[in-house]
Symmetry: C2
Subunit: 338 residues, 2 copies
DNA sequence: TTGAAAGCGCTAACAC
DNA sequence: GTGTTAGCGCTTTCAA
């Protein structure tokens, strides 16, 4: 391994000068600088960022804490999209990304804060963890800069990015009401996801405002999975067979619900309208194509990276950022004819 | 930040002893160890891996060099799958993963070897880069342990994992021949992908063995993209309108081809049979569902991680590993009736 | 069983 | 402009 010491020896100057030359300081003679640069090229020198990080107390690394990076989760390109967004932004800066997996047995024993401290990441982006996660608060209230995706918590060093889930759900409610639906059910994720709470709130408020009966008794949780969505749909229908529309808090659950209903001989959208949320890739391809709320998932990731790096480089305050969403009508929903 | 020095002060022993206690050495009094452990918990100590890495000359980090981590690439869950596989395996070990993006302007100026040296990764997994990439050879011939995904190169410190593309393509050829097809075209990726070469070779050899005319004049490149596949399909048909079957070297190109042909009024599979490769998620959902060759992509990733970590921890030799594949008949292909 | 001291590769006062 | 020196947090001889 070639170090600055070698360059120093090779050029006959001190390591200090080499360091300064390499880092582009102005107080170094142009000739010496040239000599040093030449030697660096000659010896194929690469700086050791570990050593630099140690003394600078910055690693120029951001951590990505992700849950559910599992074999099964590939159907849901949400995570991948967010990661790509984070990455695309980080690539324009001098930060690299290290991935922390929260569902590994190894790391379960360590808190997220510990993980970050050990690897000395400058900041961390957190995605997909539950609000009842025991380690969530520790990191939000800690002193490591962090940005949460879809979890609206703000702390001295914590900001978040999300879409306006209340507005999105409200749009769905208005749409279904406009289409003449009056008996409406909902398949939600689980009680420990903020997006679930918000989507429920937005949906209920708007339906009630439109004079439509809707409360938590018309909601079944599907745990954000395809299978869970299928089961929830069946429970929903058993409880109230008059239902003509179901709003699902995720596309994956909506797809599960469609399959379950279809195999029961229920036609979609003729008998029951289905609306999802997320606009995952599949939504366009399933038959009938899924009516849903699209989010700029890639934008979510890059906004998170941007906010974090802004906090890191310019002492920006942690904030809240909202990324646009859009209601998309496809073929899984239609006007009620009765 | 609390360091071993603090622990030493707090417990009244030397840093040496603290270090040894923390690392589970046997030559430390049980009482002293207990005191130290207690202090560590009390002060909420976390080891600084940077400092440790610097002195140990191992970072316990593996790099993942990925190309095409782009917004557009989300349709193709191949990359995500491989990453998940790498991750799932690494999670069982004490290695963390740092991601290097090859398509960032920033990093384009540095060679992959430099990237690895700077971040001091112990080894690297390389995925999705072209065989004409100028920096590929440097790293394969260099002294950084690496494992390539789908690029059959072996070096002193380089191994690879892949599927048997020749066999896979050969199965497709036999299938199409069995179904009575005689006029067959192929949409390949590009000339700088090993998988393209292999899939072509396997396909051609087997067709010829079956007495069917096929050579490179019946091949158009689609550059692995949906759009490219669409255009290639049109070119293919223009050149030879008698074609009854097309083998595509990736599902994404196959989907593009299907769309292009359908919009020309050509029915699939009645008029033309289409076969893809990869079995991406979409393949099951497009209509008609795509006949394809499935690869254990997740297995590809975990096999790569396993091989690399084996090289790192047990001085295992770089090797070659093959992951299973499977031909899957769906609805985009059928027996030729003429 | 423990401690003193050296050193990993780098940066940053401070002096010259 | 340049060099001397100390030190980042850790591990590891070597000696006691």
């Amino acid at each position: 391994m070639v170090t600055i010491k070698d360059l120093a020896k090779h050029t006959g100057v001190s390591v200090t000068t080499v360091s300064r030359a390499l880092n582009g300081y102005s107080d170094v003679n142009e000739n010496t600088r040239k000599k040093i640069m030449e030697a660096a090229r000659l010896l194929n020198y690469s700086p050791n960022t570990l050593a630099r990080s140690l003394v600078m107390k910055k690693s120029k690394t951001i951590g990505m804490l992700i849950s559910g990076f599992l074999r099964e989760s590939v159907k849901d390109n949400f995570l991948m999209d967010v990661m790509a967004g984070v990455h695309d932004f980080a690539a324009q800066t001098d930060y690299d990304i290290v991935i922390f997996n929260t569902n590994s047995s190894k790391q379960r024993e360590k808190t997220y804060a510990q993980l970050c401290k050990e690897r000395q990441v400058d900041g961390v982006i957190i995605q997909g963890i539950r609000t009842d996660d025991p380690y969530l608060l520790e990191i939000v209230e800690g002193d490591i800069p962090c940005v949460l995706v879809d979890i609206p918590l703000i702390g001295k060093w914590a900001g978040y990015v999300s879409t306006d889930n209340i507005a999105g759900a409200s749009q769905v409610a208005n749409y279904l009401a406009d289409q003449g639906h009056r008996s409406i059910g909902m398949i939600n994720g689980h009680d420990f996801a903020f997006v679930s709470q918000e989507r429920f709130t937005g949906f209920q408020k708007t339906l009630n405002k439109r004079g439509i009966t809707f409360d938590s008794s018309r909601v079944e949780n599907g745990n954000f999975s395809e299978q869970g969505g299928a089961e929830a749909a069946l429970r929903l229908l058993e409880k109230d067979p008059t239902i003509t529309a179901v709003f699902c808090a995720s596309d994956l659950m909506a797809i599960g619900a469609m399959n379950a209903l279809t195999s029961k001989g229920i036609r979609i959208p003729e008998d029951i309208s289905i609306v999802g949320y997320d606009d995952i890739l599949l939504s366009r391809y399933v038959r009938p194509a899924l009516t849903t709320v699209s989010q700029d998932t890639h934008g979510l990731g890059s906004a998170a990276a941007k906010m974090l790096i802004n906090m890191l480089d310019h002492e920006g305050q942690p904030q809240q950022a909202t990324v646009p969403h859009e209601f998309i009508e496809r073929s899984s929903s239609k006007r009620l004819n009765r």
